[in-house]
Symmetry: C2
Amino acid sequence: MAIQPLLKSLQRRSLHHSLGERSPLPNSSHSEEVLPNCSHQMKERRDRFAWDNILNLVEGAFLFGTNMVNAGNMNGSGNLMDFLDEPFPDVGTYEDFHTIDWLREKSRDTDRHRKITNKSKESIWEFIKSLLDAWSGWVVMLLIGLLAGTLAGVIDLAVDWMTDLKEGVCLSAFWYSHEQCCWTSNEATFEDRDKCPQWQKWSELLVNKSEGASAYILNYFLYILWALLFAFLAVSLVRVFAPYACGSGIPEIKTILSGFIIRGYLGKWTLLIKTVTLVLVVSSGLSLGKEGPLVHVACCCGNFFSSLFSKYSKNEGKRREVLSAAAAAGVSVAFGAPIGGVLFSLEEVSYYFPLKTLWRSFFAALVAAFTLRSINPFGNSRLVLFYVEYHTPWYMAELFPFILLGVFGGLWGTLFIRCNIAWCRRRKTTRLGKYPVLEVIAVTAITAIIAYPNPYTRRSTSELISELFNDCGALESSQLCDYINDPNMTRPVDDIPDRPAGIGVYMAMWQLALALVFKIIITIFTFGMKIPSGLFIPSMAVGAIAGRIVGIGVEQLAYHHHDWIIFRNWCRPGADCVTPGLYAMVGAAACLGGVTRMTVSLVVIMFELTGGLEYIVPLMAAAVTSKWVADAFGKEGIYEAHIHLNGYPFLDVKDEFTHRTLATDVMRPRRGEAPLSVLTQDSMTVEDVETLIKETDYNGFPVVVSKDSERLIGFAQRRELILAIKNARQRQDGVVSNSVIYFTEEPPEVPANSPHPLKLRRILNLSPFTVTDHTPMETVVDIFRKLGLRQCLVTRSGRLLGIITKKDVLRHMAQMANQDPESIMFN
Amino acid sequence: MAIQPLLKSLQRRSLHHSLGERSPLPNSSHSEEVLPNCSHQMKERRDRFAWDNILNLVEGAFLFGTNMVNAGNMNGSGNLMDFLDEPFPDVGTYEDFHTIDWLREKSRDTDRHRKITNKSKESIWEFIKSLLDAWSGWVVMLLIGLLAGTLAGVIDLAVDWMTDLKEGVCLSAFWYSHEQCCWTSNEATFEDRDKCPQWQKWSELLVNKSEGASAYILNYFLYILWALLFAFLAVSLVRVFAPYACGSGIPEIKTILSGFIIRGYLGKWTLLIKTVTLVLVVSSGLSLGKEGPLVHVACCCGNFFSSLFSKYSKNEGKRREVLSAAAAAGVSVAFGAPIGGVLFSLEEVSYYFPLKTLWRSFFAALVAAFTLRSINPFGNSRLVLFYVEYHTPWYMAELFPFILLGVFGGLWGTLFIRCNIAWCRRRKTTRLGKYPVLEVIAVTAITAIIAYPNPYTRRSTSELISELFNDCGALESSQLCDYINDPNMTRPVDDIPDRPAGIGVYMAMWQLALALVFKIIITIFTFGMKIPSGLFIPSMAVGAIAGRIVGIGVEQLAYHHHDWIIFRNWCRPGADCVTPGLYAMVGAAACLGGVTRMTVSLVVIMFELTGGLEYIVPLMAAAVTSKWVADAFGKEGIYEAHIHLNGYPFLDVKDEFTHRTLATDVMRPRRGEAPLSVLTQDSMTVEDVETLIKETDYNGFPVVVSKDSERLIGFAQRRELILAIKNARQRQDGVVSNSVIYFTEEPPEVPANSPHPLKLRRILNLSPFTVTDHTPMETVVDIFRKLGLRQCLVTRSGRLLGIITKKDVLRHMAQMANQDPESIMFN
């Protein structure tokens, strides 16, 4: 199994040779030029192929034990066929950057399943093997959950430590973060739980000064230095070892799940490098989050474990079921929200999501969440990233500011998507893209320089969000809770009435406003750089800051103007009526919704954070408003926009195709073009077919009765034709260039002395998908989406007229939406 | 709009007449004989058709205002076409008990949408209309949520009152339930909150005695009398006014959502009668719940509101989107679990569930839940039906009893499904089914007689479940919490250590065991009677009783044997280690899972009840075990079993078809059968076609170039052929029996003096769905499922060979699963 890639790549190379150095990849030129904004290094990757394979070989030995069952299955299936029907190696696999055929994958899996069921009746051992096969799905889910949870825990711990390393070090144990350091110290009191002698700022350690301008400048300088070091390490690692580890990964995962092949995108190197660099970039203080990349990391885990079981490794369709579940596990550990994770996978990421996958995804998400909790990286036994508890209900009148926050979220989402896409396009097309390391260094430097002086941008973004979400309890020491206390009220209860804001709150408001502007601008330039970068946390931060500002504003307005008609009914003096933390949460949901256009999953994730249905209505109002406002300016979320930017062949299930075109308008050949390249069932020679293959770059050829009648018999894949002819020339005696290829049951009558004919019915797909030329395109689009086709043949009264590929459909859709149809790049 | 049904039915009748009294319903004989186990009254319904229509007419005036927009749309679409292309009335609708064509519905909706979009550019008014149309989906959801929530609240209040009415009456206000009566009374103390002078048992009121044998017997007698009265009223109402109101409704709703037409099943009468009778039967104390019927009630609301908007009323596909959301709202109010409701609709009920529906369902579910909460029928501001809060975590060793409960749930599920289906089959086939009223009376009498002496069966089942779920707090006065207190411990804390069970607990165990046996047996006979009856609550009750018994057992074992190796690690003396309430909840989930085979939605509903992720693992372990155990004995859940029993054409998305048959094995005509009835494109006369229609009962006919070439042109629906010919004969001059019907663009060359030909290209479906004869059946099944086809034509190299209908597919699947293929009854 693990040795196979090497064999395959060797075979592929020799194959290219035999066809005169012509690459069988139709658009292979594309893949080297214009790959995903973070995949310029494609060519390098290819060069490192051999190096990968050596690693694979080493690993092969390690995996040997695990693969016993697979090997058994492989031998078993081989024995069933006679010599002529023996499959050539590589049949049934796909080229890189090609689309899979879902129907074919599904039917291959049913065949496999049928074989196992039949064999299971033969002996006890076979029965046990069939049971193992049936259970392997659950085993894979368990393993994914365990690994994804562990990795998330490790990342959380490492980020905590390294973020604090920028400011100082723990003398008692250097691997302790600030909080852990003072937690284990006996000298810290509860009030001053951040201060303990073991934790020393760099200035204290180096020049023995904790206050004063020089200490501040030293700390500032070291903060920037650490940030630059982390960022440089990250971008270098990504460039050198795993170019695919950059970005959030969600656009590519969406494309892969929809049935596209990007080899290595979910590989082991990507997993390793992405995990390491994610820690580095988050610690460097850049305006990015770890949530999106965690989904990528979880999918890499899913891909790794599915490669251990032949059920999944040999079937691209089944593998994608595992990946869908892995994506759910990723979100589950990112937020501690297993149900939200499953819904996120269902709503946002997945393409083919049968109910069986739903149940397994839920299992994987739960295992991952509980693994993370048992690692307990936040030290509070909480599952969720931002645990909040509010004590006050919300009032109907507050819906107005909530909806305003929704509008803000929608506007910000639109602005962000437009600016970010424009910047990424510029990066792709101009010389800017040639210096990714320099770009990262520059953005990191700017971020660190601007962020340090402002306490709200200096700390890590998730801490910031956490503080903004919090309600001001009696024990809260934050500057945001610096209210003027009523001297008559002493008891430290949760239900503190609204109070006038103190100087600290006003101070914080200014700092937050500056932080808001800074975050809004810097995030546009950060997302899309050649480092792992998630968008959830920065979006939520922008929303949370805006929300908290609005919340404090409403609170103070209600306190000072109890008698206004809008407050009179629900906010009496001395009551705790406005919770600014709730506004922050609503704002975060609105901004996240505006950028990603998530709906149900967003609300459910937020619901799992608060744990009460109470606040679902505000969240929902904001999410709906934000989606509507953002949709008014453009239907695409950030992930779809990046998919389009990269030209992936992604057929979105959410887009509605409402134009009145017919299949005949889309099919190739168009009027005036050369006729369709077809094979005939019993009159073409090997040489004819080889010439056709050489002269065209189509992925397959329809087979017709004869060129005159054009009645369709079936469809032959280019890849399998090439392999079959090569195989026959090598192994079958008498097959020469003049041999007639026939696809019929019986050989055609050939004149005596002519060479031995070659039967290729076996590689013929006898049930190609057809539609008539009058079929409305909306139906065709529906069929492509729901059945996951690669191509579809067009007929009129039984005669073959043309072909529609997925790329044709996507191009047509782009054209109808007044976009550049040439933006779709891959098949 | 509302007047149309009358017109339609008149037209339909005259149409039948013109065809010589032959019903166009292919299997019309079935529909009168063997309808759903609660639909024998089919014939009665037909007779009452006119009566319905009069009501419709009256309502027409009422709805006039609402329908302004619709009327506008209708006129608009009419104007676009010239005279010849004018649609005949009734085109595009379906017969009762027929399957819809999803692809056609979808493309009709796209047409409508396109028209509105084009017109919206013409004037401001049209633009506003297009906005209204776009928003109508949300308006419908809002209305459904409001009405479903209100109805659920009213049902809860009425059930509360009427259940208590069986025992006594409130003197201060007879419409108060026991709890409300004593709540408003000043004389009740907190400890004795059930006792107040205003609430009088019947014996106190009638003979002034509250204790003693005679009072007991009087109360017993009146309890039975009330129960019988309620049950008799319910069954009579159902029989006379709305035969479809019986059962849980979920099997039929699943079938309807999969694209089947059962007229009147979601009608206004059904809504009204089901709501009223649901209150009656739940109050009568029968072993049934209101949760399933609430889904039916919510779907009736959905159907009612969708009939107000032409977007939904005129499109069976769009209407089903609304119904899916309504089902979610139904579960949402049944349990107070909006997310669980959406997942239930997704997992269990719905067939076609686009993401847009997900979001809207969620909205409807939330509105319904909050409407219910603002009615506050339980008087505790809680949304959920069984609110529980546990204070103790669970331990790994407890997984063993949890899994045991899962096994119990699976076994019970299997047993229940087998026995219930056997009994329902007997009811259908023997004379038993002829006396539904008597049956209900008998079962009610038996239930009441056995239930009264046992306090756990006397009270309403939901109260019982609620008590079983509860943890024994310090203030709990229930018999189940009669533990022997440690005299040294006085403070009333939540975290009470495990204690030895008192006499009350042992007493309760015996009573619960009896209740368990009783519930298990009586539920088998109750579910399927001609009254509204849900299965969730009885299943949960069985599981909760079993779970509580196991829970108390484990608790006492752990208390008395702290030193056993299995307890030693986690259950020290004096600790609160076992929560029997949690066992009850796990048992309830296991039994519900065993009967319905729900998975994710079950766990999520239970999660929403407890509100903490803490207990998801036990619930999930039990649900998984229960599903696996039950699936080992048969894959069908109770709803699928009832669908099969009734012969509905339901193509389950969950079934996997793994056999190796080809389309050619399934298509009609089979080898040896008469050739396929086809139309030719330009050589058949009106008379030929009429004869063909008369002699066959197919739903449609393929149109070929000529009988010799058999190359497929398109497909004509029987219904539309009949309407078109009738219309042409009436309106078009020169169309006589000898007129040639042509489907080509140009009229065929006919000899001079021959009658005027009739062009019917307009009713021809030019893009019929085709597969080749070599297509594997698994692919065909997949296509039928995913695209929602009614039929599919089979070709070989462009020549028409046969046809496969949905019924053929279902029959083939039944045959492959060794079931009776004749059990599928409808098209």
